[in-house]
Symmetry: C2
Subunit: 185 residues, 2 copies
């Protein structure tokens, strides 16, 4: 499975064999079961996760027990509570597996070490951070526009094939609409 990790990096930066091996040596490969938590509200968040197989969701549960979905994570996506992870504070969201999943785990310390040692790794994460920022900017605009159909279309663009992978009630929780509204879209 190491080749998955290296191919993931090579989509953005060229790496020779020794660089690739060095980078890979900082990741831990782990398997998780459906419904298992990888980040739990209130707990520390030492790792970020690259999804090699399976799918996850990050979400916040409000005071009324309602789930609000921040992000889905499919193959080749990164997921964690990025805020808590970067600031070394307790998680404010949960991340759990929607199906059995296999993840590459990277600690904050190793991420910073790799970025400091290898210019290419810093550039890789800069590209990832920029792309994440841009996707979120589009999402904020769509939430402010509060046009449910536009939000729905944007979701399909961001996550092609999601309708076959994710239950309807989770898609509604991502869009911030009711199941009934979703059915009309």
């Amino acid at each position: 499975m190491e080749s998955f990790l290296i191919e993931h990096f090579r989509k953005i930066v060229p790496l020779d064999e020794s660089e690739a091996a060095y980078i890979a040596s900082h990741f831990t490969y782990k398997k998780f079961k459906k419904h298992q938590f990888v980040v739990q509200e209130g707990a520390p968040v030492p790792n970020s996760f690259l999804v090699a197989k399976g799918s996850l969701k990050s979400y916040h549960t409000d005071d009324n027990g309602k789930e609000h979905i921040l992000q889905f994570g499919f193959e080749n996506w990164w997921i964690t509570d990025f805020y808590a992870h970067s600031n070394e504070t307790p998680a404010t969201i949960n991340v759990d597996c929607m199906e059995d999943s296999e993840l590459y785990c990277l600690s904050l310390q190793d991420r910073e070490k790799l970025c400091a040692e290898l210019h290419k790794v810093a550039r890789f994460f800069l590209t990832k951070a920029n792309n994440g920022y841009l996707a979120q900017q589009q999402r904020i605009l769509s939430l402010l526009n509060s046009n449910a159909r536009e939000r729905y279309e944007q979701l399909l663009l961001l996550y092609p094939g999601i309708l076959n992978k994710v239950p309807k009630q989770l898609i509604a929780a991502y869009l911030g609409v009711s199941r009934e509204t979703l059915s009309r879209l």
Copy 2:
């Protein structure tokens, strides 16, 4: 005013004098009038802007002519249509000056050149992109939670002193609430 630019970078990465001068040589310093556009919907977005003086807002106007504010930019903030800028596509939002403003302008080509040449600059923008990502994550959660009071409190945390700087109708447009709702907060 060059020292402002250098101090801005040095908050995140150490720079010696020659590095500082080299970085500064890629920026253009420009003055803009209140209400002047720095990014206009439909036009190319060659530059991103670091605010040295004044204040700006980025916003999208919906089909009903309603303004939705994506971001405010005060001193030491970066602002542009980051999506259009990075993808070299026409702007989908406007950015204009809420008062007379002075900005450091950086082209995409020069930004990429600096990031490729100087590891420190890549790390500077990585930190900025991460911080921007995290602020947006909080904003998405607050929009999904759709609790106007929480959104209001988060705004005050993100932009201390904003109530003295920005007209109430613009704050309402940022929060996605009516003027009447804002008055109650």
